[in-house]
């Protein structure tokens, strides 16, 4: 379907700007993954305003580069310091740290990076092979299906998010509400602008994201002990290439974990942490020596790293084919597509195959960059984990202020960012998930306009929307997701005596 485009994509990737965007972003992703408290999502949010100045190719390459690099970076500190730089690396630490403690840190790092790269490449291959098929299927979808798909995406993220489904749904509704601020596009009627002309264009996605994630994270960091730095001296080790015999022995784990990661990544809301733990549990279940897990077994490292990296390709499947992002990171990548005037969905596959091919080949290349960085540069990168919070905090804050200001050169956006910083901090303290807010904000217009269009076509008959076969299937999924917490509790109650 996109054979020639994939070949031509190599030529586009030879453009120095594209290559530089990709290489630097992978390095940046690894770096932010290494620094505890930061992470790929924060880096993507901060990078988003910079992508205004890049071509769609370069900006998407930069964003997926950070996504890919960040998915691995956390493993470095998890192995060397026993601190997962990102939650994605928590499962890697279970075996990576014990292996490092018995003097095999180089081996653990080598296994982690090769598994990450393998997982990433498998997921790109599956994304390239299957996403055009899903996009073709999505051509049968009308406004009713898009409304329901949007709601399905939100419901999934809300129901699996940490906290409770109720809080997840509230957070998603709040995100949808934020998306209504500004002029209603069909009628140009201002809504919730309170007379501020600047708000007619709506609340900027970037200031809100920077506030909810970057500023709130800084406030949380300030609550902790910011004066101490992590001791990294003497921990740096050169990663070692895994021996051929070990690779052969671990091959089933590499493959199975990569497929698990891709599949879980494609489910809205699941994400890399769940993928890593599910894959780790499966590797342990399938192992002839499950008792060795947690003591520094290579299978544990490979299972976790291959799966959490494979999520990168999997998560892009629903985002690019249906326009339904599976998590907060892909929601921001979808926001970047909107910024460049591109609408994710089947039409993207019809009208911009060249761009998609560039992204797919770029992801492949990003994984190869990560292999080089992971094997030969990471020894220097690990020292970033020792940077004091007293230096990280002002750096993150100043970049956030400038990034929010740069969107429209508006001080109002900077003020909005700080306001949402306070909201994000309170939401975190109260256990509200933030990802549904982002998804609600990104999907808000799509859901509202699709619903209004569907109702107009059906002449206001709500029941007519529910009789379409695809729509019925999606409604079934939404119902299961909403009832799952109740059904799950009922199933659990007899086993636990109702004391869960």
């Amino acid at each position: 379907m996109m054979g020639w485009e994939l070949v031509a994509a190599f030529a586009r990737l030879a453009d120095p700007v594209n290559l530089l965007a990709l290489g630097l972003s992978v390095l940046g992703g690894v770096l932010v993954g290494v620094i505890p408290g930061l992470g790929p999502f924060l880096a993507i949010v901060v990078l988003l305003p910079f992508t205004f100045h890049l071509t769609p190719d370069a900006s998407l390459l930069a964003l997926v580069g950070i996504f890919i690099g960040g998915s691995y970076g956390g493993a470095v500190t998890a192995i060397l310091l026993g601190i997962p730089g990102t939650p994605l690396a928590a499962a890697t630490m279970l075996d990576g740290r014990p292996m490092a403690e018995r003097g095999e840190a180089g081996r653990a790092l080598g296994l982690a990076v090769t598994a990450s790269v393998f997982g990433g490449i498998v997921s790109v291959a599956l994304l390239t092979a299957f996403s055009p098929l899903l996009a073709r299927l999505a051509l049968n979808f009308g406004p009713a299906e898009y409304t329901l798909l949007g709601i399905l995406g939100l419901t999934t993220v809300a129901s699996v998010a940490p906290g409770s489904t109720l809080k997840g749904l509230l957070a998603a509704s709040f995100g949808l509400l934020l998306a209504t601020v500004g002029s209603d596009s069909p009628t140009a009627t201002p809504r919730f602008t309170f007379g501020l002309v600047t708000l007619n264009a709506g609340l900027g996605l970037i200031p809100v994201l920077l506030g909810l994630f970057s500023i709130a994270q800084v406030v949380v960091m300030l609550e902790g002990d910011t004066s101490r730095s992590t001791a990294v001296s003497g921990v740096a080790r050169w990663p070692q290439w895994p021996a051929a015999g070990e690779v052969r022995r671990l091959a089933p784990t590499y493959v199975k974990s990569s497929v698990i990661g891709t599949l879980i990544g494609a489910l809205p809301g699941a994400g890399g942490v769940i993928a890593a733990f599910v894959s780790y549990a499966e590797a342990r279940r399938a192992s002839r020596h499950p008792e060795r897990f947690g003591t520094g077994t290579p299978e544990g490292i490979v299972a976790s790293e291959a799966a959490n990296s494979a999520v990168t390709g999997g998560a892009l499947i629903p985002t690019l084919t249906l326009g339904i992002p599976g998590d907060a990171i892909t929601a921001v990548i979808m926001g970047a597509l909107f910024i460049h005037g591109l609408t994710p969905g089947p039409n993207l596959y019809r009208d911009h195959t060249d761009l998609l091919a560039t992204v797919f080949v770029g992801m492949l290349l990003a994984n190869l960059f990560m292999l080089l960085i992971g094997m030969y540069v990471v020894r220097a990168v690990v020292y970033a984990a020792g940077v004091r919070a007293t230096l990280v905090i002002p750096g993150v804050l100043l970049i956030s202020v400038l990034a929010a200001y740069a969107v429209q050169t508006s001080m109002l956006d900077v003020g909005i960012m700080f306001l949402f910083g306070l909201i994000g901090y309170l939401m975190r303290k109260l256990g509200f998930p933030l990802a549904p807010v982002v998804l609600g904000m990104v999907l808000g217009e799509l859901i509202e306009l699709s619903l209004r269009r569907a109702l107009t076509v059906a002449d206001g008959d709500v029941l007519a929307l529910l009789t379409r076969p695809y729509a019925l299937g999606i409604i079934g999924l939404i119902t299961i997701l909403l009832l799952w917490p109740v059904l799950g509790r009922k199933r659990l109650a007899p086993a636990t005596g109702g004391a869960e």
Partner: protein, 158 residues
Amino acid sequence: MTLARLERVAGACGAALGLGVYLVARSIPGPPSGGWMEDPAFWPRILAGAILVLSALLALRPGGPERAVSFGRAERGLLLLAISAAYVWALGWAGYFAASTLWVAIIMVLAGERRWPVIVATSLILTVAGYLVFWKVMVIALPVGIIDARLGLASLYR
């Protein structure tokens, strides 16, 4: 304070937000023609209802997590937000260089940095780096203020 109690407070606030949104949505003018589904207030009203119901459920649900929520050194975070609000106000009239250098230095002190050479060097380096990336590379017009002008830095904005 326990999380359960805080959730009840959050539920009450959410219900108030839902009610407020519903009331404000009533003032949104309707479409000149067409059905109710073309009304720009139609979707906000649905959301207001959803927020109201979900918040009420959160506020009224029995039990809930009894673990205590620690706000740690929340005063440092709140102080940061207050100082940043002042910075946003000062940025316009003082100018990017003056306001940002001072703000970064204050943030570092707030974060616990006490080595003055580090504070001075970091605040200057970060401010200049921000200027180079945003003004020189991205060509974003940063605010020029009277203090920057008095310090003779106005030429940097050309």
